[in-house]
């Protein structure tokens, strides 16, 4: 069995292509920006409802940049939960990023140290998915392309916390607007984007079944890590050991 090199060396970036690559990334970031807009606004509004100042809402979106964990954070704050437990819950919800981080190192390992630190800061679910798809398509994953994806998402995410916080609860009935289903629909789209990969169906089924069981028994947010590990374990079990990989 051949071992794989973790950090592949990339071809040197051609400066003439940099601008093109930024806009290629930007085009991938725009749909993500649109899809995340309802949540960015809702977060700002709910944060202020739960006793945050507008500045704190903006700070949270700018510094954490992770929708689900931010929602959990403000929700718990409204329930008089000890501070350390709120921080720990944010950590637990974001724990899945450890797996993205390990996997994406194979794609962006050639970035310079500061570029690398910034890129890992910006590593959200859709950013990770786009980076994997770019690598899969054989096109170069450059820092400028990565920034192109992240820029519209980040700038609007922070702006939405501010707008949502200023104008308060614009979204009067989140249930009627289907807000609870928008995130699952969006993530289903990301899952479907990887359907050409080896053993995709087996991984999805294992991950779905185990995450539902864990959600009903152990509870949120642990179902994410437990379900993910089940899917990964399934991949390792069903993979053909001597399979040729190019």
């Amino acid at each position: 069995m051949d071992e794989q090199i973790y950090q592949r060396q990339s071809v040197p970036a051609d400066p003439g292509r940099a601008r093109t690559q930024f806009w290629e990334g930007f085009a991938k970031g725009l749909p993500i920006m649109i899809a995340s807009a309802p949540f960015g606004l809702l977060f700002g509004a709910l944060a202020v409802d739960n006793g945050f100042t507008v500045f704190q809402a903006v700070l949270m979106s700018a510094a954490i940049f992770g929708g689900a964990s931010q929602m959990v954070g403000i929700e718990l704050f409204g329930h008089n939960v000890p501070a350390w437990l709120i921080v720990f819950s944010i950590f637990a919800v974001n724990f899945r990023h450890v797996l993205y981080s390990a996997a994406v190192g194979r794609r962006i390992g050639h970035f310079k140290p500061l570029q690398s630190a910034l890129s890992y800061f910006l590593l959200t679910d859709p950013q990770y998915a786009e980076t994997e798809k770019r690598a899969e398509s054989g096109k170069p994953v450059t820092f400028i392309w990565y920034l192109g994806v992240a820029t519209p998402i980040y700038v609007m995410w922070v702006t939405e916390a501010w707008i949502g916080g200023l104008f308060g609860n614009l979204i009067s009935d989140p249930h009627a607007l289907g807000i609870d289903m928008l995130l699952p629909i969006y993530f289903l789209g990301l899952v479907m984007g990887f359907r050409k990969r080896d053993n995709w169906a087996a991984i999805v089924i294992a991950s779905a079944v185990v995450s539902i069981i864990a959600y009903k028994t152990i509870g949120s947010p642990w179902h994410v890590s437990i379900g993910a590990l089940a899917g990964i374990l399934m991949a390792v079990i069903v993979a053909k050991p001597a399979k040729e990989r190019s």
Binding site: I34, L99, A176
Partner: protein, 97 residues
């Protein structure tokens, strides 16, 4: 500073650690075993599915129809089209049924 600000800062530091941590651990190895490669290739489907499945299990029939419709749209169209189609279905169903 208020406790909210401290919670945000601590949450941000820990979140950054999750985003860089997996890489810091794996980058200690120059080469990775094929089984680890297989595991890493499974990460997108394995992790992202856990963000869908429990919500689907808890959803009302309107949510399930919206999800199923979006899943079908995803077979032919890009992610944004799929998201907007699924979003339109759930909003219409919640408003009118």
């Amino acid at each position: 500073m208020s406790s909210i600000t401290w919670i945000i800062i601590a949450g941000a530091v820990l979140t950054f650690l999750t985003r860089i941590g997996g890489h810091l651990v794996l980058s200690r190895f120059e080469r990775i075993h094929p089984r680890v490669e297989v595991a890493l290739n499974a990460v997108p489907a394995a992790v992202l599915t856990t963000l869908v499945a429990p919500a689907a299990a808890e959803a009302d029939w309107r949510g399930l129809i919206a999800l199923a419709f979006a899943g079908l749209v995803a077979l032919r169209f890009n992610a944004l089209t799929m998201f907007l189609a699924g979003g339109a279905v759930i909003i219409l169903l919640r408003q009118f049924s």
